[in-house]
């Protein structure tokens, strides 16, 4: 049962990611990325990281992607014009990428992962919160500073006249 669920959500994630590249209009790419993010949240739930799964949807699919969709709609782009990027790039790049994936995949597949550690942890809010506020409190405070800088930077860049 759980293997069936994993294969189902993995297929959706890979299919949506390939669709991001295959679409000509960038709005369809953004919507495919939203689908991929919800499939990733389902995979997180399968790994018992339920808090991260809902945070992934709230922050990534519900806020960052809305920002992307807004900007795409406000800029009102036409369908993609064919640019100057070399035409043969995708005919060489994709086979090379697949070859590279086979190379890495063979190593990953045969690597011995070892037994899963006992006891199993569940990524609930309490466990993540206690670790975030005791062991990792300095990076936590620094990320708040990072968000403040990004906020000021985004407002300054997008203004018409300073």
């Amino acid at each position: 049962m759980i293997e069936f669920l994993f294969l189902f959500f993995a297929a959706i994630a890979v299919g949506a990611a390939v669709n991001v590249l295959a679409q000509k209009h960038v709005l369809y790419s953004a919507l495919s990325l939203i689908l991929m993010l919800t499939a990733m949240s389902a995979l997180f739930v399968l790994l018992e990281a339920e808090f991260l799964a809902v945070i992934n949807v709230i922050v990534y699919a519900g806020a960052i992607m809305v920002l992307f969709v807004f900007v795409i709609m406000l800029l009102n782009l036409p369908r993609d014009e064919n640019g100057d990027r070399l035409r043969w790039l995708k005919f060489v790049g994709i086979p090379m990428g697949v070859f590279f994936l086979l190379l890495i995949g063979r190593t990953l597949w045969t690597a011995a992962g070892g037994e899963p550690a006992q006891p199993r942890i569940t990524g609930s809010a309490a466990v993540i919160g206690s670790s975030l506020f005791t062991d990792y409190v300095l990076p936590f405070e620094l990320t708040s500073l990072l968000i403040l800088i990004a906020l000021i930077g985004a407002v300054v860049f997008a203004k018409k006249d300073l």
Partner: protein, 337 residues
């Protein structure tokens, strides 16, 4: 895997799903009738009372009308997104009912993070509006959609932050555990509801919830006087009905969360024989939700609407600092005690 589908626990789950979803969908259809009657009562006119006794068959007549209407698609509209938008609005609206505890055992999925699940699902509800407005290829829907989604994003912040005080008191993110933490009485007579310890959070939550669902006084994005009908101008027939149902479902979700977080959910005096004791918690819960829906409808009938810049200023400069101050104050008191 097949063995699970034949087991009795799956049959119980299926029965719960049918009861909850069937009840919710029926209640949504009749909410439209109740809204029209109450608004008419406030405006001193009868309202729909011709179709069936007291107009009780009016939602059925409306449903048949929606089914038979002509499906028009605006010229140069983006067909895929135009048909996808009502579905994208309806799915998150109905998905939040799967984690709401309607009774001590009447819950479809008792997640450990059910409150965050509801927030995640409502934040996905923005896409239905944005796609519906943009794909209609017309200026009023686009303006309405942009305004509405900016409003929803802004008020989502104060909505999420205002419940943090309740989470600190209850020490859990699971909705069913928040309800069970509000059982019992203080001094034997005052129920242990969170409204008595977090009044400011309740007010901020209610106002943000009304703004999230685009209802008066925050419905500038779909007002008739300004934007014809906002983002659903170009929609007719069953697609429009789906948008309306999604809006009512969001209203019921906000009301249900308000009762669960601040008014004790399904807790209330339980008495009588065995079958009555099983049905009474759900009855109390539905009664409290009905009170909140009545508040929504009376607000719509009486209050004028905000202008858009007043709306945004209110959300960012008043509600957000108020919810942050509430978190600070509550954490201070919780650390002291």
């Amino acid at each position: 895997m097949i063995a699970y589908f034949a087991s009795p626990e799956f049959a119980v789950l299926l029965a719960k799903m049918i009861i909850i979803l069937g009840g919710v969908l029926g209640a949504l259809a009749y909410t439209s009738l109740v809204e029209r009657r109450v608004i008419a009562f406030v405006q001193m006119r009868p309202g729909p009372n011709r179709v069936g006794p007291f107009g009780l068959l009016q939602p059925i007549a409306d449903g048949l009308k929606f089914l038979f209407k002509e499906q028009t698609v605006p010229a140069n509209a983006n067909i895929l997104l135009y048909y996808l938008a009502p579905i994208a609005a309806m799915i998150p609206a109905l998905l939040s009912f799967s984690v709401i505890p309607f009774g001590p055992d009447l819950i479809i999925a008792d997640l450990d993070v059910s409150l965050l699940f509801i927030f995640a699902v409502t934040s996905l509800g923005v896409y239905g509006i944005v796609l519906g407005g943009w794909s209609s290829n017309s200026k009023y829907p686009l303006m309405g959609a942009m305004r509405s989604s900016a409003q929803m994003l802004s008020y989502e912040l104060s909505l999420t932050l205002s419940v943090v005080g309740v989470l600190m008191i209850a020490n859990t993110v699971s909705l069913s555990q928040i309800v069970t933490s509000q059982q019992g009485y203080w001094f034997g007579v005052v129920p242990r509801w969170n409204i008595f310890v977090q009044p400011i959070a309740f007010l901020v939550y209610l106002i943000s919830g009304i703004a999230e669902t685009n209802r008066l006084p925050f419905d500038l994005a779909e007002s008739e006087q300004e934007l014809v009908a906002g983002w659903h101008t170009e929609y007719s027939g069953m697609k429009f009905a789906m948008f309306m149902l999604a809006e009512y479902a969001n209203m019921v979700t906000v009301s249900a969360l308000a009762t669960i977080l601040f008014f004790g959910g399904w807790s209330g005096p339980v008495f009588g024989p065995q079958w009555l004791q099983m049905a009474l918690p759900t009855a109390w819960f539905l009664l409290k939700i009905a009170a909140f829906m009545l508040l929504y409808i009376v607000l719509r009938a009486t209050v004028p609407r905000f202008r858009y810049d007043q709306l945004m200023r209110f959300g960012w400069k008043f509600l957000l600092p108020a919810s942050l101050a509430n978190i600070l104050f509550t954490s201070f008191l919780a650390a002291l005690s």
